[in-house]
Symmetry: C2
Subunit: 341 residues, 2 copies
DNA sequence: TACATTCTTTGCCACGTTGCAAACGCGCTG
DNA sequence: CAGCGCGTTTGCAACGTGGCAAAGAATGTA
């Protein structure tokens, strides 16, 4: 456990500490002989560079922070996997923070008011905050990339999803299979959360274009996007005098709960009720029935996010950019057209 | 972005840098007047202590590494959530590395041969490595806690699960509901992986105690523990001349794939085939039918692991201990006794 | 008033590393 | 053989912080 330093290596190899550093950092002009001796000494002593010291000197830590609401929500764990892999390709490692849907905590994490100066950059996937972000002075915080929000303020780099369009596509798909009473699950009581707001907008527009009426009874909030919330919301929908024949859930996880609720109520999917989500989590592919969804390509999101972040770390003053990642409708068993139109 | 240091604060507050440090660290003997002035200066300049420098000085980083095979496997993402929360309670933050089932990478991560000296400790959940761990000299690496393995070598602190017993309980439960041909899914080609070996041992012992014969055809390997692996293994089982009437999967995720395969084959759960897993992931609670399982309490695992790790960080030379976390059989719909015994 | 005691504040230094630029050594050229 | 240039190695200093112990100020005691 005792720290072996460049000095120890230098002494053993019979060179200066500085030369050891040169070897470790692959400096060009090092003779083969010296390199061999130094490497042998490193090996013998089990020397490992102290990253903290190195980073104090260079100002880089090689660490990024990924901030998500909850890591055990499949969308975020799948995203985290992609992010960690993408970061690894750029030589970075990823620390994960959870906000637990807590506004104030999101803000703290983002401004670094507690987690100071230990990271080279931040990847932030805000579930809830929006206005707060706009208030922040982007020049005072670390290089930051926002993931998944759509409203672009010009202050932060942004890997966005076209939420409105995704919701529109999902709802239109349901209408195209002959559904007439299409419910939406996942609105939020707080108006400020932009993702659900955008999805609701897309849902309503799709109803308009399909010539279907709006029905407030069919638009149900979900406090968080857990299976349980989808389950509860769907039970409420099924208890209506005129229950829906299709449910568009604002996330796949909500949809998993919805599917369970429909089957618990003794109704069939998709014959009685069709269900579609957004995210394309692995779980939906193996669900019974398999879940139709709007796929967000997490690998593309992660790859683009890391390109942007690395670029911004190297050039902090560059103008903020926005990238919209395309999505794809994936039709599976949960929305197959029923035998009778 | 430019770094504000104690010196800047000291200059503005009209005190020495050292005094600023005293204020920041809540040193006892600081006059109220000075404290006020320093805090005001900190506020005005937006000073944030540089953790890298602090950590270089104190030798602590406040960072832990959590090493798992894949973060998007629900068991590990749920475990990660618990670990991050538990770490947070001790003032630590958690960096996550994925081994991707890669032996050599597990070894590298564990010995820190690349990730040098940046963490105060390691939480390591090895899916595969076992012998390698035994070879390591525990005194040369960071404080490390192993999660989930059972074989205790006395070299590392260990939060263990009684794998043998868990598998025994699961299999015995299937036998108790009248199943006669109980399959096991999840053995590994490589004999060295101890978790599957222990589970197989428990499975076989349960068969013995229930008076059921062993049948090699009913013991199926799964390369990794993904839904797809469970699906493929189960298809093979169902294609047997004498297919099983119950399947014990070595993880819930395997079981999710197994359930899908059974239903794709037009057979009913639990009437034709009962299925049980291990892990108690949230997904299984909402599956259709809901999945019986052996629950491993991830919060307890995480809490105990952090207690141990913090203790070891403070006292590196203390003897290694092992804690076995209890498990619980949870009966749900996937193993309800069929109407006819 | 002189001295002991306690409370505050400070200067110096080191943590382990790398940037900088100077120094060294060697072979080549004129 | 002097002089030059390139390849190689090195000493010094600094990144920003906190440990240490001593200096300085304030208070209490004889």
């Amino acid at each position: 456990m005792s720290q072996v330093t460049v000095k120890d290596v230098a002494r053993l190899a019979g060179v200066s500490p500085r030369t050891v550093s040169n070897v470790v950092n692959d400096y060009t002009h090092v003779s083969d002989d010296v390199r061999r001796r130094v490497l042998a000494a490193i090996d013998e002593l089990g020397y490992r560079p102290n990253l903290v010291a190195r980073n104090l000197r260079t100002g880089r830590t090689g660490l990024l922070a990924l901030i998500v609401p909850e890591i055990d929500v499949p969308y975020f764990s799948e995203l985290a996997r992609a992010v960690i892999d993408a970061a690894s390709a750029h030589g970075y490692r990823v620390m994960i923070d959870q906000t637990g849907h807590d506004h104030e905590r999101e803000r703290q994490l983002l401004t670094g008011s507690d987690r100071t100066m230990l990271f080279d950059g931040i990847l932030f996937s805000p579930l809830v905050t929006q206005d707060e972000i706009a208030d922040l002075d982007s020049s005072t915080i670390l290089p930051t990339i926002l993931l998944g929000e759509h409203t672009f303020t010009g202050r932060f780099d942004h890997i966005a999803i076209d939420n409105t369009r995704a919701a529109f596509d999902a709802t239109t798909h349901l209408a195209a299979t002959g559904r007439r009473r299409i419910a939406a699950v996942g609105t939020q009581p707080r108006e400020t959360y932009s993702t659900p707001r955008q999805r609701t907008a897309g849902y309503l527009r799709a109803l308009d274009e399909a010539g279907l009426p709006h029905d407030d009874d069919l638009v149900v909030p979900a406090a968080q996007y857990h299976r349980r919330d989808g389950y509860d919301a769907t039970r409420r929908l099924l208890a209506l005098d005129a229950p829906p024949d299709a449910i568009f859930c604002y996330s796949d996880l909500l949809a998993m709960g919805a599917m369970r609720a429909v089957q618990d109520a003794g109704r069939r999917i998709p014959e009685d009720v069709a269900i579609i989500g957004i995210d394309d989590i692995e779980e939906g592919r193996f669900a019974i029935p398999s879940l139709s969804t709007v796929a967000l390509d997490k690998d593309v999101i992660a790859t683009r996010a890391l390109e942007q972040l690395v670029r911004r770390i190297e050039e902090p003053s560059r103008p903020a950019t926005q990238i919209v990642v395309p999505h794809t409708l994936i039709e599976r068993d949960s929305t197959r057209a029923p035998a009778t139109g």
